[in-house]
Amino acid sequence: MKMFKRITIAALSTVAAVGFTFGSISSTKAASSNKIVVAGSTALLPVTQQAAKEFKRSNPKVSISVSGSSSVAGPQSVLRGSATIGAVDWDATKSVPGFSAFKGLKAHKIAVIPFATIVNKSNPVKNLTSSQLQGIFSGKITNWKQVGGKNATIVVVNRKFGSGTRVNYQMKALNGKSFMTKGNYKEVGKSGEMVTSVSTNPNAIGYVDLAYVKGNIKAVNFNGVAATTSNVINGKYKVWSYGYLVTKGNPTGANAKYIKYVQSSKFQNGSLKKLKFIPVSKMK
């Protein structure tokens, strides 16, 4: 008897709890001012995470969650409604090779992301030209000897389709040349996995945004120019892109405040710079 009563009560309370939760969600959705969900680019993840940390300090009532999977997931989850802000490494309101424009979105420029070609620290190669990179990533150059390194097979590590880093690297470093898909080639999901793969394989080559270059990997010069923030600013280093936050229409409430905070000169010249990104205002 007691057992049964308990079960009934438990079931009823579960139903009530679920009902109330969903009810409250649907009722607050219109207001949706205290909830920020950021999804998308892993290249921008250091920025969005740091900004969230600081934003929370001054706005403790706002609930904010930040995650990263790949750039295209940003605008897609905003359109689907599972995120309020999407982080993406290209202007998602315009079409880029491989992706058409996302309609109904508004893009907010928040950072300049420099991308770097990376190899293992033990690799003696210091400089690669654009045409050498095209050869390597399309599978025509297969040995490090051909570009001035040791006699060893090149292992190409690529980001999977949907990555904004991949889109930008292909556009700017490889001039749109397509990637190989077979042979000594592997694909990884996120920026962090790219770093792990290159740092554990002495013959690997990959690319990642400058914020991730540390530890057992090093950035290779591109056409004789070092991948540094100052070279991006003075226009010598070409492999970079703007990072964007996208929202469905104009942002409201906490979401607007968060984007404003990321764009504020305090954050741009402070934490953003420390993370090896470049403030938007520095580019002309």
Partner: protein
């Protein structure tokens, strides 16, 4: 007189009380029965709708892609509208087979050891350790595979990458080993001691007893264990995706980077558009996995009814 009245009243009341209690119990039982039935129906409905949803979404792929291309082409280039899943299907089967080839002998030996040979105090240590191994999240195995196993394979074999079927099979072997060995352990322990004693009485050695009497008797349980391990190996995603290489090509040897159904689905499902052929193709691959594991469960059922 008063006494008689009193005696007459007492049994009447008792009967009434009894009846009420009985009725109450009956109602409760019925209600509980309905509650249980509803729960089961609810579960069945959810399961069925999952299967129907995945199947329905998956089958949409055949509007744009021919059956022949999907199942027999190895060219997976979704941005060029080429959806050949053959290399993933084959890769999944190869990986599962290789895993079993590595895992089954080792884990059955472990099971024989814990069930028959190890002294009691060692059994008490070994069994909880195996149970703990089951609880380690698969992503941890994957990360260890990526950072320790792959550089090790590269050093030993002298290949360039190390990613591929071998690395994935080794990681999966470590993952399914406790599952298979614990269940076979139970099956072997369940063999009645009369059989062993009879065997010893006939003059058989311990080795002969184990291999000629105990193992054949526990074989259906051991087979169930292997199939359960296989089901886990087929569905495993997080560990595999980190060590397989994710290159959509047929593996020519154990050290070629390749891809399997699970790793391909988990890698791409977030990034594809909702209503695209690509998305449907991934759902179809998920449906194939579902069918594969259901076939395995079906085989287990058959074995169970036949066996001990």
């Amino acid at each position: 007189m008063a006494k008689i009245e009193y005696e007459l009243q007492e049994p009447k009341l008792l009967i009434n009380k009894d009846k009420i209690v009985k009725e109450k119990v009956y109602v409760q039982n019925q209600l509980f029965k309905i509650f249980c039935l509803l729960s089961v129906l609810f579960l069945g409905f959810i399961l069925l709708s999952i299967i129907v949803f995945i199947g329905k979404t998956g089958l949409l792929v055949f509007k744009d892609v021919s059956l022949k291309e999907f199942f027999f082409s190895t060219t997976w280039e979704p941005f060029e509208e080429k959806y050949g899943a053959a290399s993933f299907i084959l890769g999944t089967l190869e990986l599962t087979g290789l895993t079993l080839l590595l895992a089954a002998p080792i884990s059955i030996t472990v099971a024989i050891f814990t069930a028959e040979i190890a002294p009691n105090w060692l059994k008490k240590i070994l069994r909880p350790i195996l149970d703990l191994l089951v609880g380690i999240p698969s992503i941890v195995y994957g990360y260890l595979g990526l950072t320790l196993l792959i550089p090790f394979i590269r050093k030993v074999t002298g290949t360039m990458m190390g990613d591929g079927l071998l690395a994935a099979a080794i990681v999966l072997t470590i993952m399914v080993l406790p599952t298979i060995s614990r269940i076979s352990d139970d099956a072997i322990t369940a063999v009645s001691s009369e059989l062993r004693e009879a065997s010893y009485a006939l003059g058989a050695t311990r080795m002969q007893t184990i291999f000629r009497v105990v193992i054949p008797h526990a074989s259906s349980g051991v087979l169930t264990a292997i199939i359960l391990g296989m089901a886990r190996a087929i569905g495993e995603t997080m560990a595999v995706v980190m060590v397989i290489g994710n290159t959509p090509q047929l593996a020519t040897d154990l050290l070629t980077p390749t891809a399997v159904l699970t790793s391909n689905i988990v890698n791409q499902i977030i990034d594809v558009e909702f209503d695209s052929t690509w998305n449907y193709a991934l759902y179809m691959m998920a449906f194939l996995l579902l069918i594969l594991s259901n076939v395995l469960i079906f085989i287990i059922r058959k074995l169970r009814t036949k066996g001990v």
